[in-house]
């Protein structure tokens, strides 16, 4: 059996498994575990797309959540029916109001809007390197937040945006996760993906062999932003009501922690991070609410799960900056030609 056929069989089996879980999962698992699985799928879309730019091109963006926020609002506005937009957003321009759009087209439009925004923003920003690009993309996130808070007629400002239909079910989230991973894997393990890693490991050498550094980075940024838009749409129709504060620094830190813990530079790493931190947060929630065992009552500890997350994050940075996966993909039947991608650690620092 040739490698290609074997790979395709594995992928087909994984998709089949995902489909079975998505269809039968909610009935078997009960509400609580279905919700956790749903969150893992949504965060999987977001963190995998974050990893495309941050892990593979070496441009560490802190602005990903800006795209998530934009998409959530675009999707939210498109989802409102005429009566809803009349009562919630009376000053919305006529061409935007009363679409009552179905989930799928609204998600695609939101994704295209964020991709276009990424192209516009990335064209100047992807020229920067190191922490300069991080600070600049963080500036982008703050700008998006400031605009959302102030653009009252579109977003209700800092008040809660409500009335978005709760359409995000497990099949939708799982389906988008599978599509995201397939598309990203297709890009990452292609000549374009090789170019991205070359740019990450040594931008000057990459340019020397004829790789267009700006275009390579921009491609990763735009594709990542498209799937950030998809993830934002999933979140919008999962939450039903949200405000600009929903999509801001704490979400950004959460996603970066997932990516870094799992390991930048591989899709498996992103998914491991999402699962580990998702599970950890759920367990620590119990601690936060307070509980009592044998008459000993633990008072609720607000913020405990975030503190634990931060500590894990620091320990990872100190002891294993390449994360759990260390830049490797998990391959079920390892091929002889599969070599681990060079780790971030080996990349020359710019000091």
């Amino acid at each position: 059996m040739s490698h290609t056929i074997r790979t395709r069989l594995i992928v087909a089996a994984a998709i089949l498994l995902a489909a079975i879980v998505a269809v039968f999962g909610p009935g078997l698992l009960g509400d609580y575990f279905t919700r956790i699985l749903l969150l893992i799928c949504m965060n999987g879309v977001l963190v995998a797309s974050l990893g495309l730019c941050n892990g593979f091109t070496g441009v560490f963006s802190l602005g990903h959540v800006g795209f998530v926020a934009t998409a959530a609002y675009v999707n939210g506005i498109l989802s409102l029916t005429a009566e809803q937009s009349a009562s919630l957003l009376p000053n919305l321009p006529a061409w935007l109001s009363g679409w009552g759009m179905h989930f799928l087209p609204a998600t695609l439009i939101a994704g295209l809007v964020t991709a276009a925004l990424a192209a516009l923003v990335g064209l100047p920003l992807m020229r920067l390197s190191g922490h300069f690009v991080s600070v600049a993309t963080m500036g982008f996130l703050i700008i998006v937040n400031g605009v959302l808070v102030n653009a009252d007629e579109f977003t209700r400002g800092s008040r809660t945006f409500t009335g978005v239909p709760l359409d995000t079910t497990l099949p939708w989230a799982m389906g988008w996760l599978v599509i995201t991973l397939l598309v990203l894997a297709r890009i990452i393990y292609s000549p374009i993906g090789r170019a991205m890693r070359a740019v990450r490991d040594n931008a000057i050498a990459a340019r020397g062999i004829g790789i267009n550094v700006l275009r390579t980075r921009l491609l990763a940024f735009v594709v990542g932003a498209f799937f950030a838009g998809v993830g934002g749409s999933l979140y919008a129709r999962y939450l039903g009501s949200f405000s600009p504060a929903t999509f801001y620094f704490s979400m950004m830190i959460n996603q970066i922690a997932m990516l870094v813990l799992g390991g930048m530079g591989s899709l498996s790493g992103a998914m491991i991070g999402v699962v580990v931190i998702g599970t950890m947060t759920e367990l620590l929630r119990a601690l936060e609410r307070g509980f009592s065992i044998d008459g000993v009552t633990m008072p609720p500890l607000f913020g405990a799960s975030q503190i634990a997350l931060g500590l894990v994050f620091i320990l990872i940075m100190i002891y294993r900056p390449t994360g759990i996966a260390g830049g490797r993909e998990i391959v079920l039947w390892p091929r002889t030609s599969t070599r681990p991608a060079p780790s971030v650690e080996e990349a020359p620092s710019r000091n």
Binding site: F60, P124, L125, R127, L128, S129, G130, H131, F132, S134, V135, A136, M138, G139, F140, I142, I143, G146, V147, N150, A203, R207, V213, L214, F249, I253, I256, A257, V260, L301, F302, G303, A304, Q306, I307, L309, G310, L311, F313, I314, M317, I318, P321, V344, E345, A347, S349, R350, N351
Partner: protein, 300 residues
């Protein structure tokens, strides 16, 4: 009220706000200059300073001594932060340093929420500070907090100027910022210099935190977040890593923000923060070394 009074009033506001930004930005620049660390946790030393002052004044310590306690607490916080979190990752790539500082700020802010609760706490001021003067029939107002802010900023910055040009430690810090390896070679104790830099930087953050809380009248665990982001902009406008640049950037940013609110139409002035951060991006793209050093390059 005539226009000249309005201008003078806005000038007072700009100097007062700019002083706070300058105090925070100076600390960011000191640490960045030596370690190339973009320290997101710097803003949380404002929280440490302000809460220490609050606790000491609740315990009955006179307010001026309380300010001193806030400054010392900030410095101590900075030294602990360096030892626990930043020393183990020293020399790692830029992004690792930046992510570590994000994790540190995340921990400190949530620790603050855990200990003090997330709701704002009243920041009591002694009577002698709770006064304001009015001139020209109320057209011009400035509070004693404004005066105290500017006075303490000037005094502490004069101290900084003396420290980095006249003391061995200060000169050593500048040498380490110039070239860490060479500083080590000529026998400077780099570890001690870095601890001193964190202590100094965080002491300024602690002072800024106390003054910020005094102006706002409240303290809360996330209070350092917005000033920190603004201080980033100030430091980068002035040239990240340069102390003089950070001061210049701080006052420039304070003036600009006051001007946006005072002189732009009401539809635009709420967009103050987006405008300021757009300016940050413009600077990173076209003047990455800041206004004062146009030749430094940080592009591809």
């Amino acid at each position: 009220m005539d226009y000249a009074d309005y201008l003078i009033q806005q000038g007072i506001n700009a100097i007062s706000l700019g002083s706070l930004y300058a105090l925070v930005a100076v600390g960011l620049s000191i640490v960045f200059g030596i370690l190339r660390l973009t320290n997101f946790a710097h803003g949380d030393m404002m929280m440490v300073g302000a809460f220490s002052t609050l606790l000491s004044s609740l315990a009955g310590v006179p307010f001026l001594w309380g300010i001193g306690i806030g400054v010392v607490a900030g410095a101590a916080g900075g030294m602990i932060m360096e030892r626990v979190a930043y020393r183990p990752v020293r020399g790692a790539p830029d992004v690792t340093l930046l992510l570590t500082s994000l994790a540190v700020t995340y921990i400190l802010e949530n620790l603050g929420i855990l200990v003090f609760g997330s709701s704002p706490k009243n920041f009591p001021l002694p009577d002698w500070l709770d006064t304001s003067w009015e001139f020209r029939d109320g057209a011009l107002t400035f509070t004693s907090i404004n005066v105290l802010t500017v006075a303490l900023t000037v005094v502490s910055l004069l101290f900084l100027g003396w420290f980095v040009t006249r003391t061995t430690t200060g000169l050593g810090m500048r040498a380490a910022a110039e070239d860490m390896g060479a500083a080590h070679l000529v026998g400077l104790n780099v570890n001690r210099l870095i601890v001193a830099a964190f202590a100094l930087a965080s002491a300024y953050a602690g002072l800024a935190g106390v003054l910020w809380a005094a102006q706002a009248g409240v303290v809360q665990p996330l209070m350092g977040f917005t000033p920190l982001l603004k201080a980033f902009v100030a430091a980068i406008i002035g040239g990240f890593g340069s102390i003089g640049g950070a001061l210049f950037g701080g006052y420039l940013l304070g003036t600009l923000e006051v001007a946006i609110v005072a002189f732009l139409p009401d539809e635009i002035s709420p967009y103050r923060d987006p405008i300021v951060f757009a300016l940050l991006i413009v600077f990173l793209l076209f003047r990455p070394g800041g206004i004062l050093q146009p030749n430094r390059e940080e592009k591809l």
